[in-house]
């Protein structure tokens, strides 16, 4: 189905989220929609899938104007949206979820539904157990289930919002294969992303949004040079590479020292860790998801107690002392799930600073707000001291979390510090982290993104299947070698060489 918008405008207060957009997406193709956070991608997709009503302009399906009163109308008209977190019912089985409120007449019986599901899974190359409960599946698998549900319910246009966030590389490959198949069958796929490589690999056309407008007006046929797309997305800010500075040599004791540490978490068992984490370094933890990076970070944060061995923080033995003692020793942990483990959504930045006040009974609002105002200026957070954190975008939440790290911190542990951020926000975060490093902090971060590891680390530690490799100076490592090590190639030799 061909899908088009004409002169589409959507305002939120004074912000023009979509400003007179006119685009057409042809059937049988995969269309990339690029743009930084807040460029108006999500608004456009919500309008197309019936969640928002446009203030002005029209939506056309196969040339016919269409009024959408809700997502149900959109699906009845043939438009299905796969949200970043799939909108399924976690307590249901795959089959129950498929049948729940399915359009009348689509499935005649449970068995017919199961057959249809298995047939489609086979065609798209997905492996799915119809009896599995959705809350036992990974985000990637739930996304597959959601794609199949929408197709079986009659979607001719499939909108995917940042579908590769939080799924494994293998799942990404399976997803791309399936999307190509879906497009080859004559359906339209809209692929919303800020990952240029993925758009380049997958999409037939690309539409770039900036500040609610299409730049340049109309679609571009892929391939396009990456630098050109970056300029379209960010103006000139996106293309300046970060400045690389040589390391200062600092002669202070290591921030962390692990002596013969053995620690266990879930099925992972890290044995005999002997590492030194020096001050003034950024140390990247590379590895496939769940290879031990998170366990190591939590160990360094004091959230896990070692079974054996010693952890020295700034030369003091803190083995088994607990996370509070680690914080008092100047260790800060920035979790990946910002709103679950890091920040409190309903509280404002000022209130977060107030939470850090340790003296007095009454909240010192003036000081807290002053601190928040300073942080906002210094970290360029788009918020007021009194905006609830949950109302901020991901990039601004990450900046807020970083701003809350006290200047006295000696070690910062960051789990996927740029997860879900666009390129400009990610660079802003990294320039802050680098400033902290230059001030003598030791920063340990984990990231699934090899480019990020290569670009920002001073030293790299590879984790493979629950084993932690020795730290390798970044200068001695090539991207190809790092990719091999993550896959386990030559990992054994590396460990033995030390």
């Amino acid at each position: 189905m061909r899908i088009a918008v004409e002169q589409l405008t959507k305002r939120f207060g004074t912000v023009w989220a979509n400003n007179r957009l006119t685009i057409e997406f042809a059937a049988g193709q995969i269309h990339g929609v690029l743009g930084e956070n807040g460029a108006g991608k999500s608004t456009l997709m919500k309008v197309l899938s019936g969640y928002l009503r446009p203030d002005e302009g029209r939506i056309l399906f196969d040339g016919k104007p269409c009024q959408l009163r809700g997502p149900g109308d959109a699906l009845a008209a043939g438009v299905g949206m796969v949200h970043q977190e799939p909108l399924d019912i976690p307590a249901f089985t795959v089959l129950e979820n498929l049948l729940c409120a399915a359009p009348p007449g689509v499935f005649r019986s449970w068995r017919a539904a199961q057959r249809a599901l298995e047939e489609l899974a086979e065609r798209l190359g997905f492996a799915v157990d119809p009896a599995a409960r959705l809350d036992q599946l990974t985000i990637g698998q739930r996304q597959q289930v959601e794609i199949m549900r929408l197709l079986l319910c009659g979607a001719q246009v499939l909108i995917l919002d940042e579908p590769t966030t939080g799924i494994t590389a293998a799942q990404t490959r399976a997803l791309f294969t399936a999307l190509r198949q879906i497009a080859a069958e004559g359906r339209t796929v809209l692929f919303v992303s800020h990952k240029l490589e993925e758009v380049a690999e997958l999409c037939h056309t690309v539409t770039v949004l900036r500040n609610g407008e299409v730049v340049p007006p109309g679609q571009l046929v892929m391939p396009q040079p990456q630098e050109y797309l970056l300029t379209l997305m960010f103006g000139d800010a996106g293309t300046t590479p970060p400045v690389y500075r040589p390391l200062p040599s600092i002669d202070s004791p290591p921030v962390w020292e692990l002596r013969q540490v053995t620690v266990r978490s879930g099925t992972l068992h890290l044995l005999d860790l002997n590492h030194r984490f020096a001050a003034g370094r950024i140390i990247g933890l590379a590895g496939l998801d769940g290879s031990g990076q998170q366990v190591l970070l939590r160990l360094l944060a004091g959230q896990l107690t070692p079974d054996r061995g010693q952890i020295l923080v700034n030369g003091r033995d803190l083995s088994g002392a607990g996370a509070i003692a680690f914080r008092e020793a100047g260790i800060e942990y920035l979790p990946a799930d910002r709103l679950r483990d890091g920040l409190i959504g309903a509280l404002s930045l000022a209130e977060h600073f107030a939470l850090l006040q340790r003296t007095g009974v009454i909240v010192d609002r003036r000081t807290a707000e002053e601190l928040a105002r300073q942080a906002i200026a210094e970290y360029q957070i788009k918020a007021t001291p009194l905006t609830p954190i949950a109302a901020l975008s991901g990039g601004n939440q990450q900046r807020a979390m970083l701003a809350l790290v006290p200047p006295t911190a000696r070690g910062i542990l960051a789990e996927q510090p740029t997860r879900g951020l666009d390129v400009a926000s990610a660079r802003a975060i990294w320039s802050r982290l680098q400033a902290r490093r230059d001030a003598g902090c030791c920063i340990v971060f984990a990231s699934p993104d090899l480019d990020e590891i290569m670009e920002y680390s001073d030293e790299v530690i590879v984790c493979f299947a629950g084993r932690i490799g020795p730290s390798i100076p970044r200068a001695l490592l090539s991207a190809g070698r790092l990719a091999e090590l993550i896959g386990g190639v030559g990992f054994e030799a590396l460990v033995e060489a030390v």
């Binding site: 809700g70 109308d73 699906l75 249901f92 049948l99 729940c100 409120a101 359009p103």
Partner: protein
């Protein structure tokens, strides 16, 4: 032995209003709405049902009036919580108090009047079966209805597509909305259906099991029903089992009044409530992290069967229970 069958039959009979109310509450809560007014609604419906049946000499009209009262209170809760987005707990609690006092105030003229009652109706043929006939088929229509209501509720929730929608409403209304269903309208429907059942449960007291009307006629059983629904894990069969357990405790307590005359009657009246909460809490303790840690220290031969038991006993609330739904 005969005495045991008679006792079991009595338990099934005494539990009938609890079962009906509990099924109604289960349906509402599965759709994500807590009807905390349950105890008050039952009292008001019991009083209204009795008054209508007394004045019209028509039992069907009495039950219909009770159902209507239950539906009406539920609708009021719906207007405040679903339409106006106020806290279900607060509104429900106020309604519970209001309905209780209204029932005492409006019901004053009917206190201790003799009135109509649901007639005993053994099922011909089946009633003469050994044991089963005595336990299951020598009751009145209200009790038969309570028997049928449990599998019917379970089938509705787990066997039908409507049930899928109802459960999804309580788990993730945003997903139901994305599928083109009007969340608020369906929550109203389930809330009102549940409310009508709670109303009928009230009439089952005043027109059947505790015939007549008096101050606080249901003796707080509405509150125990709320607890049973929670500890029963919102699953109809387990919830019904909880109701029968409570009824059994009540009967044991009544018996002990004559065998243990030394104990004050107030203690005996309250004992089933305390025992019930203890039993339910113990059952739910099984799924606590402490028990999980304890199981992990046992030899692995024992771990597996224990984990299966714990998994079976686990009761997870509908994820969106009590949460308002805002159209995105």
């Amino acid at each position: 032995m005969d005495q045991l069958w008679i006792d079991i039959a009595a338990i099934l009979a005494v539990a009938a209003p609890l079962v009906i109310a509990a099924m109604g509450e289960t349906l509402s809560e599965r759709a994500g709405v807590i009807n905390l007014s349950l105890d008050g609604t039952m009292l008001l419906a019991a009083m209204t049902g009795f008054a209508v049946a007394l004045n019209t000499q028509n039992l069907i009209l009495g039950f219909a009036a009770a159902a209507l009262v239950g539906a009406l209170v539920a609708a009021i809760l719906g207007v405040f919580s679903l339409t106006l987005g106020q806290s279900q707990t607060a509104v429900g609690f106020v309604l519970a108090l209001l309905c209780t006092d209204l029932s005492s105030f409006l019901g004053a003229p009917f206190v201790r009047l003799p009135g109509p009652a649901v007639p005993f109706m053994p099922i011909p043929g089946l009633a003469d079966l050994p044991v089963f006939g005595q336990i299951l088929f020598r009751h009145d229509p209200v009790i038969y209805a309570s028997f049928l209501l449990v599998p019917a509720t379970a089938y509705l929730l787990y066997g039908t597509r409507l049930g899928l929608i109802v459960r999804a409403l309580g788990e993730r209304p945003a997903a139901v909305y994305a599928r083109g269903i009007d969340v608020t309208r369906w929550r109203y429907a389930m809330l009102i259906l549940g409310g009508a059942l709670v109303g009928i449960a009230g009439a089952a007291f005043s027109l059947d099991l505790k015939q007549g009307w008096s101050y606080r006629h249901t003796f707080g059983s509405g509150w125990i029903v709320l607890a049973i629904v929670i500890f029963g894990g919102w699953r109809p069969l387990r919830v019904a089992l909880g109701c029968y357990l409570f009824a059994a405790l009540e009967i044991v307590a009544t018996r002990s009044q004559s065998t243990l005359p030394g104990i004050p009657s107030q203690i005996i009246q309250v004992a089933p409530f305390v025992l019930m909460i203890l039993v339910l809490a113990l059952v739910n303790l099984a799924s606590s992290p402490t028990v999980a840690r304890w199981i992990a220290t046992l030899p692995s031969v024992l771990q597996r069967p224990l984990l299966v038991v714990v998994y079976r006993l686990r009761a997870t609330a509908p994820a969106a229970l009590g949460q308002p739904f805002e159209r995105p």
